[in-house]
């Protein structure tokens, strides 16, 4: 047997995961990539004394399963491996991470560029600030360095452009400034609450997405099945988070093209959405709303009415503003054919989430690996085909409409008005187990993986934010664009720095 298959959030026993010789492991997993309905959700290494066990989790998007396999290599046997990346570029981040953290060597990896300069790295990296960027010797080209600290209030990361006049020929992005050592903290912090708070802090703008991935994983490892009330609240919270951030992003896109009215109106439309989160759980960014095994803030009658009222007020203003915006040639001129990220590129680098869908690539965990109540909602992903900034603007608008519809549906047909539940989560996790949890945050596919030891303690925790895949997409999308269009390209991707750096 080459693989074991599991569904989203299904626990598999560690001994049941096949261990293949490395060459077979590589052939099998890279072979799967030939199928368009297959992509890699996570590939990571688990150091065990002088051995390293590699796990590869491939999503089968047609069957809704996750195909898991593993291999083992020696830690100090100086073996130089053939890389997955040479066979399919989508693996590049995973192998860079393993090379950087554990010193795994590859013979044919195209670019072992440091990923995040981790504190527990294998030690060959220079300091992040001394990173040698790709450089071209030319008297006609010039370089522009931006960051790590940017002009606005955003997170740090360095962008190095090589330009010909105003035109970007090449962009190299170096991240890692936000590295906080989260994966190790998941093991060091012992209480469930501490780990939940960590999950909410992976990317604070995706608190619901990451906390839902964590809660789903934890409940599966505890063999706990959440009730429909918990699922309903989590689904509504996930979609409300999507609405809030997408609205804020539309405002930011308007800001970057100096369209003041759109910037103000979308900006202020976000306020009541996040204030509804505060009404619901006491936090505008929805921290605190998702808790494994329980539902601390049930949706009572008042909260349901507040949600309906929110949308009744939001919709007319939103559609009026959006309608005006898309009728303005001066707006469209800045958005159309700017920052084009092609379907082919998206496929090649393994793009996920909204960015992939705006480039015609079907990637949506709500559709392929449904969790929470997405099965019941018969979710149909929204796809755009041009892959330009305008596609990424349109998809946000359409996803907002879709999310509002879902929440309205759930409120209409939702069972049981919440009473809150304090169900008993078993204290121990299943021992010697492996579990993958996938959610579709507003950015895209969030993947959390955990391995437990013989005593049922966490032995490994791996987090993957969708940004890990998509940052390279931004670098490709800006090629041949004017450097003055970089801000809207960046904003239309709106990727996470901290989610990437962990």
């Amino acid at each position: 047997m080459t693989f074991i298959t599991a569904r989203n959030n299904q626990v598999v026993r560690l001994p049941e995961i096949p261990v293949l010789p490395y060459e077979d492991f590589m052939e099998a997993n890279t072979g799967l990539m030939k199928d368009i309905y297959s992509h890699c959700v996570n590939y990571f290494a688990w150091p065990l004394g002088d051995r390293i066990r590699l796990f590869c989790c491939m999503a089968d998007d047609a069957r809704g399963t996750i195909i898991i396999s593993s291999s083992e290599i020696g830690r100090n046997d100086n073996r130089v491996l053939q890389s997955f990346t040479a066979r399919h570029l989508a693996f590049h981040v995973f192998e860079r991470e393993m090379h950087e953290r554990l010193g795994i060597r590859y013979a044919d990896h195209p670019w072992l560029k440091p990923l995040r300069f981790p504190v527990d790295g294998a030690g060959k990296n220079p300091a992040i600030i001394e990173y040698p960027f790709y450089h071209i010797d030319s008297e006609e080209l010039h370089e522009v360095g931006v960051g790590p600290i940017h002009a606005g209030i955003i997170e740090p990361g360095h962008f190095r452009f090589i330009c010909s006049g105003e035109q970007i020929l090449h962009l190299e992005i170096q991240l890692g400034y936000q590295h906080r050592g989260i994966e190790q903290l998941f093991l060091d912090r012992r209480s469930l609450l501490q780990r939940t708070i960590l999950a909410e802090s992976i990317a604070g703008d995706s608190a619901v997405g990451h906390a839902t991935a964590f809660a789903g994983l934890w409940e599966s490892l505890c063999n706990f099945t959440p009730g429909s009330e918990i699922l309903q609240c989590r689904t509504i919270a996930s979609e409300l988070e999507r609405i809030a951030i997408h609205t804020g992003d539309l405002s930011a896109i308007c800001t970057d093209i100096a369209f003041q009215l759109g910037s103000s109106v979308f900006g202020r439309l976000r306020t009541p959405v996040i204030n509804t989160f505060q009404l619901w759980c006491g936090n505008r960014l929805a921290k605190g709303i998702i808790r494994a095994g329980r539902n601390p803030y049930p949706l009572d009658k008042n909260m349901r009415d507040a949600l309906i009222a929110l949308f009744d007020n939001y919709e007319p203003d939103f559609y009026e503003m959006y309608g005006r915006m898309k009728s303005l040639p001066s707006v469209l001129a800045r958005l159309e054919r700017t920052g084009t990220f092609t379907t082919e590129q998206a496929e090649k680098i393994g793009a996920v989430g909204m960015i992939a869908r705006a480039s015609g690539l079907m990637r949506d965990i709500r559709w392929t690996h449904p969790y929470l109540l997405y099965d019941r909602l018969h979710h149909q992903p929204i796809i755009k085909h041009h892959g330009d900034v305008y596609s990424r603007t349109q998809i946000r608008k359409q996803e907002i409409s879709q999310s509002i519809k879902y929440i309205r549906d759930l409120l209409r047909h939702g069972n049981a008005i919440g009473t809150g539940s304090e169900d008993k989560l078993p204290a121990n996790l299943s021992p010697d187990s492996f579990c993958v949890s996938l959610t579709e945050g507003w950015r895209g596919e969030i993947c959390h993986c955990a391995i437990t030891d013989a005593k049922g303690d966490l032995a490994l925790y791996k987090v993957k934010d969708p940004s890990v895949h998509n940052w390279l997409g931004l670098a490709l999308a800006v090629r041949n664009n004017d450097i003055s269009d970089f801000p809207i390209c960046n904003k239309s991707f709106n990727l996470s720095y901290c989610g990437h750096d962990l």
Binding site: E155, H179, S191, R268, Q278, G282, R284
Partner: protein, 249 residues
Amino acid sequence: MLSEIKILLHQGKQYIPDVTQAEVPGIFRGRPVISTAGADVRRLVEICPTGAIDADPVRIDMGKCVFCGECSLAFPQKIRFTKDYKICAAVREDLIISEGKDEPLTLKPEQIRKEIRSYFGHSLKLRQVSAGGDNSCEWELNACGNVNFDMGRFGIEFVASPRHADGIVITGPISANMAEPLQICYDAIPFPKIIILAGTDAISGGIFTGSPALDRSFPGKYHIDLYVPGNPVHPLTFINGVLDLIRTR
């Protein structure tokens, strides 16, 4: 043009007329009040994910608190989070709320460096640096300048360059990889300059306290002018804190 005017009319007035008196909607976890009722203090201390609760007397350090509210869910008789969002302090110890204490937090004039009010009373330009921030405080600091909160009306603004700034606002637990860029940015700000720590992560490290990936030497080296607790900070907390710092009422 007509459609723009129509949109403007439909928006109505969006700004909060008085940000010092506005009430926040729904539930909000602001300044905690700890009653003198008896409780299983050992368990209470254990619950807290960041060690913000201490015993004898029971007290909560808002500089460590991530405002998850789990202590008040477990001990509703003992701990209650009020909607009071004015929770900034000029001195670190003032963030510690003790059992039986239910008074608003204030910045005392003697806690504030003299030059701050005379230099920055009517205009304050700030440079923000995210050093491991999770983008929630960053969103909220951006929101301070939106049409609802409109911090610009007080002459308080975020600027693009440290050379244009009067001070620095730090978010995040300060990752080691950001320690040097943060220092360079601070050095580029002309004197006199202020330092504001925004959010629990920045004040104490929050849930990341003790992670080897952090380098918290910066806040230990300098005088901190304002602590703004929150996870993330609420725009009203930030605006009121800064106003209290720079203005005499």
